[in-house]
């Protein structure tokens, strides 16, 4: 039983404390967690969470079953890799001088990122995509002075009619 990364999508009740319930379940059951994103859905009563975790088959099975026991969790789905779109947003702020600007712009264009803020001292770039692409972009940017960066962690959705429905 090897370890691998996997994505779990959840529909949860949209009220206070749900995030704590889910995250505290992960800590008290010693489940691994790489990232967790949460936001409202088209139904104001529900939020959708995307959790990226890793572990063996036992861990996967227990994570799904234990999440299903939480009263506020309406639906849990282990996302099938080949049928899932994953996207993450990253913002990175870099200290640049004027001479460096053209080459940074070139990198931004190559990676289909966009510049969202520019000041005499710093440039802020936004990039969306799958995690490996974002990692590659960050690695490329390391040649400059990175002032700060933040990333959301992946959010996921199934392709076509592969959906996370509330039933």
């Amino acid at each position: 039983m090897g370890n691998e990364q996997f994505v779990v999508s959840l529909l949860v009740a949209n009220h206070a404390g749900v995030l704590t319930r889910v995250s505290s379940l992960f800590s008290r059951r010693a489940f691994n967690i790489d990232s967790l994103t949460v936001g409202e859905t088209e139904n104001p009563e529900l939020s959708r969470m995307t959790i990226v975790s890793w572990g063996d088959d036992y861990m996967k099975d227990q994570i799904v079953k234990q999440l299903q026991k939480l009263q506020d969790v309406k639906k849990v789905q282990l996302m099938k890799k080949e049928k899932t779109i994953l996207r993450e947003l990253l913002m990175i702020k870099i200290a640049i001088d004027k001479e460096q600007l053209p080459e940074v712009k070139e990198a931004v264009a190559t990676y289909r990122a966009s510049i969202v803020d520019l000041s005499p001292e710093a440039i802020t770039i936004e990039i969306t995509g799958e995690t490996p692409k974002l990692n590659a972009f960050v690695d490329y940017m390391r040649q400059y002075k990175i002032i700060e960066m933040t990333r959301t962690g992946p959010t996921a959705m199934g392709r076509g009619m592969y959906c996370l429905e509330n039933d």
Binding site: T20, R21, S24, Q62, K65, Q68, K69, L70
Partner: protein
């Protein structure tokens, strides 16, 4: 009609069948207590000495009645004093609703007087909890709390109600629909068919019965199932009482301090049908050894238990009573004469015998004496050596007659639990086996037993030491008795008398029998101090993480 939040709480208690509640008043629950005063003809409130005792009482009440226990406490220390009791109920899957008051909503989060985030604190030890900030949601929250506590695998639910929510007046609709418990009697026919195939293929089937059987009131079905497939039954501590001690299928408790025959037979089996168990480490010991050479068919209501501690070959998910009924229907009558001859030889094996020295007052004679008089009455225990002796020697006859802290192992559980159990049976005599260690943790509740004149027989197995820890120290720590020798001068007879109870001391079997005579003809609580040797051990013992080969028999 327009009602205050406090009145809604009490009306919902009545509507949910909670005619008995345990608790302790305080600043943040004054309004609820004021309503309890008005509704005292519908709800009997039992005041304990400490919120922990109240919580254990509600737990004991729930275990003997099968209903949801209710406990009420004030904010801050009142709420935190419930924590051990709630955790205890969580680990043993007892349906419990804990109601706490809190400071007013505009005072929350300001470290106000007696403010504590009890929903945060109890999140990992409740099935669910609520902080009710909106009084219009209070009635529906109370209904949900009872539904959650009872449905599926039962457990504790906490409802935290700020003071202003209790005083607010809101519209209350008594006839609003109640959420029904989710049905769990739908058993997958395919799972039953596969299970039947597994059972038919087995040559040495063994039934491992847990607390889920008690919770589902499925003891009758379990025995019928055992008869049908011709298999012996070993039990977890929570499963005890499902099969009468005298029943031919009964092997006793499995595991660390289980009976030799129960554990050995499991290791000799080729199929374990595990019903309503969660495979605690205290039962399995070395998991690899426990699993090797046999298949496991796991029947449980909680999907997360399947494969959590022991990988199951197959499973049936759902209410164990419903599952057993279906299985019995699906199975032919099976016979395993060779296997049962082997089981018989294990039961008659000298290693399975209980030695009793008639000359001395021993744990065996103490338990035997009470058992002989108590019939099928309720027995509560505390935690430690005395608890294990009760599980080994007490001859239980009826389901729900043992109230013990299995999962959490809570020393101090006994007094509250015995009080709640006694009240749950409508005031029938209840025997509590405790020890000098456990009893000292919550003996204050003797006052509660006296106030309510409960016929409680408190049997203190007094060995002057923390016996179970001492046993481990002598086996695994070179006899270095760090802080387990109790140099206390407590006089239990005078202690009982000081509380207004009766007290007797027994150094010999004759004195013990006389004390029992008096205790069993007394109305109110009685304490019997039974002085036993400090080096009495709980045997057999399989050391933690060990297998049947590591069993210590004498």
């Amino acid at each position: 009609m327009l009602l205050t939040g406090a009145e809604i709480v009490v009306k919902e208690l009545v509507a949910n069948g909670a005619d008995v509640v345990f608790g302790y008043p305080g600043g943040s629950v004054l309004n609820i207590y004021d309503e309890l005063y008005k509704y005292s003809d519908k709800i009997r409130h039992y005041l304990t000495c400490h919120e922990q005792g109240a919580c254990h009482a509600a737990d004991g009440y729930a275990r003997v009645t099968g209903r949801t226990g209710v406990v009420i406490a004030t904010s801050g220390p009142g709420a935190t004093n419930l924590v051990t009791g709630i955790a205890n109920a969580y680990l043993d899957s007892t349906p419990l609703v804990a109601i706490t008051g809190n400071v007013a909503t505009n005072m929350l989060g300001r470290d106000s007087f007696q403010e504590v985030d009890i929903t945060g604190i109890t999140m990992p030890i409740t099935k669910h909890n609520f902080l009710v900030k909106d009084p219009t949601k209070l009635a529906e929250t109370m209904r949900e709390a009872f539904r959650i506590a009872q449905s599926g695998r039962p457990g504790p639910v906490l409802v935290d109600i700020p003071k202003d929510v209790q005083t607010a007046r809101v519209e209350y609709d008594e006839s609003a629909p109640r959420p029904a418990c989710r049905p769990h009697d739908a058993i997958c026919p395919d799972a039953v068919r596969r299970a039947a195939e597994l059972i038919c293929a087995a040559k040495r089937p063994y039934i491992y019965c847990g607390g889920g059987v008690i919770k589902a009131d499925a003891a009758g079905e379990l025995i019928a199932f055992a008869e049908k497939i011709d298999a012996p039954v070993g039990l977890s501590i929570m499963g005890l009482t499902a099969v009468p001690y005298e029943h031919p299928r009964f092997l006793g408790m499995v595991g660390m301090h289980g009976r030799f025959a129960a554990t050995k037979a499991l290791y000799d089996s080729d199929l374990v049908v595990a019903i309503g168990v969660r495979f605690s480490d205290r039962a399995t010991g070395n998991k690899a050894e426990f699993m090797q050479g046999r298949k496991f068919l796991h029947i449980d209501i909680d999907a997360a238990e399947i494969g959590k501690n022991i990988g199951a070959t197959d499973c049936i998910l759902g209410d164990v009573k419903a599952a057993l009924k279906k299985l019995i229907e699906a199975l032919p009558t099976l016979r395993h004469p060779e296997w049962n001859a082997h089981i018989k030889s294990l039961k008659e094996h000298p290693d399975n015998s209980i030695d009793m020295d008639p000359q001395r007052l021993t744990p065996q004679s103490v338990i035997e004496g009470a058992c002989r008089r108590h019939g099928d009455g309720i027995v509560a225990t505390d935690v430690g050596q005395h608890q294990m002796w009760v599980t080994q020697y007490y001859q239980f006859k009826k389901p729900r007659t043992l109230v013990t802290s299995g999962g959490l192992g809570t020393m101090g559980f006994g007094m509250g639990a015995a009080i709640g159990s006694c009240i749950g049976t409508g005031g029938k005599r209840t025997v509590l086996f405790t020890s000098d260690g456990s009893f000292h943790m919550n003996l204050n509740e003797l006052a509660t037993a006296v106030t309510n004149n409960l016929p409680l027989v408190v049997i203190v197995l007094n060995n002057q030491v923390l016996g179970m820890v001492r046993q481990w120290q002598s086996l695994f720590f070179g006899g270095r008795y760090s802080n387990t020798t109790l140099e206390r001068k407590t006089d239990y007879v005078r202690l009982a008398e000081a509380f207004g109870a009766k007290g007797y001391r027994a150094l010999t079997n004759e004195e013990y029998e006389k004390a029992l005579d008096k205790a069993f003809s007394s109305d109110g609580p009685v304490v019997i101090d039974c002085v036993i040797d400090r080096d009495e051990r709980v045997l057999p013992m399989i050391p933690p993480g060990g297998g049947i080969g590591d069993i210590i028999l004498r």
